[in-house]
Symmetry: C2
């Protein structure tokens, strides 16, 4: 691996964490490399810096693009594909949340919706359906909460988060609002 020590450590860490995040080691490494790179890189740059096969990089880029974590760019007078990681960390955060919802939550929501439409055949199913209803409500609610958050601009969102210790106060206000409007 052709990187200065600090950067290598970062890249290797992302490789190791990859499996916990649901991507393989090479995908984690490629993303880490692009994240800290000051300029877009082409596939051969990545092959050289990380010492993996060209085909592995090709597959890794496809995966990262499917997560919308990298974007394809072109340099004038160079026909090769270059890749870069979006810069704004808040935007990355939102993109990730969206993709995770789509892949990890949406299919279950669909299943729950279908299951709740059915007429339970016996007591066993009646009870199970009641539990599914609770799960369904939680997911629906988290989703609409997330939708709201998602509409905010990065700056606003950052402001809201920085609020930190004041959530309790906001909540007090929220309670009043709720009382008034519902």
């Amino acid at each position: 691996m052709n990187l200065s020590p600090l950067n290598e450590r970062f890249v290797l860490h992302f490789g190791e964490m990859g499996s916990r995040w649901g991507v393989n080691r090479t995908v984690g490494q490629i993303y880490a490399l692009l994240f800290i790179s000051p300029k877009p890189l082409n596939a051969d740059d990545i092959v050289e810096q990380l010492g993996m096969s060209r085909s592995n990089v090709s597959m890794g880029m496809k995966e990262l693009q499917s997560w919308r974590l990298v974007k394809l760019v072109h340099l004038p007078g160079d026909r090769r594909d270059y890749f870069e990681a979006p810069k704004d960390v808040w935007d990355i955060f939102r993109t990730l949340a969206e993709e995770k919802r789509r892949r990890e939550i949406a299919p279950t929501l669909t299943l729950l919706r279908d299951a709740l439409l059915e007429t339970p055949a016996n007591e066993e199913e009646r009870h199970a359906q009641a539990r599914m209803r609770e799960m369904h409500e939680l997911i629906e609610m988290s989703n609409s909460w997330f939708d709201e958050i998602h509409r905010l601009s990065p700056e606003t969102l950052e402001g809201l988060m920085k609020l930190g210790a004041k959530v309790q106060k906001v909540l007090g206000f929220a309670d009043k609002l709720r009382g008034k409007d519902e």
Copy 2:
């Protein structure tokens, strides 16, 4: 599989989703079964209902306990271990968020903290460190936001979420607060 059709569908779905959620199929199935079960189950109940090996169930239970998604209970006059899934979906939600943070985020936070203490050796490292600083700030901020949320009771949290479309209004208030207090 020894389950009525609706319940079987739910259990199989959780098995399939398991791989996206970072657990194996059997762990997903076991959790689903416990989630909809009206009463605690012992290992042999699970073996019988899901048709997997006894040792698989034993390992699965260990995994689920490490996630704090099931708890061990005992029935009077029966020495076997029984397991049940906690009932309150909000509580499950928080537990999961906590465990995910511990496993998927905390190690990276540690790495970033360490990396930011080092003196960059060259321009390459200086730029990388600046990017790491952005990531570090985002994570720290999300963490303290989550800590705040975490202190709320399930009822309060549910109330806050139900607020839904009113987040914008809350945010307006939050902005005022921020102006006043900082």
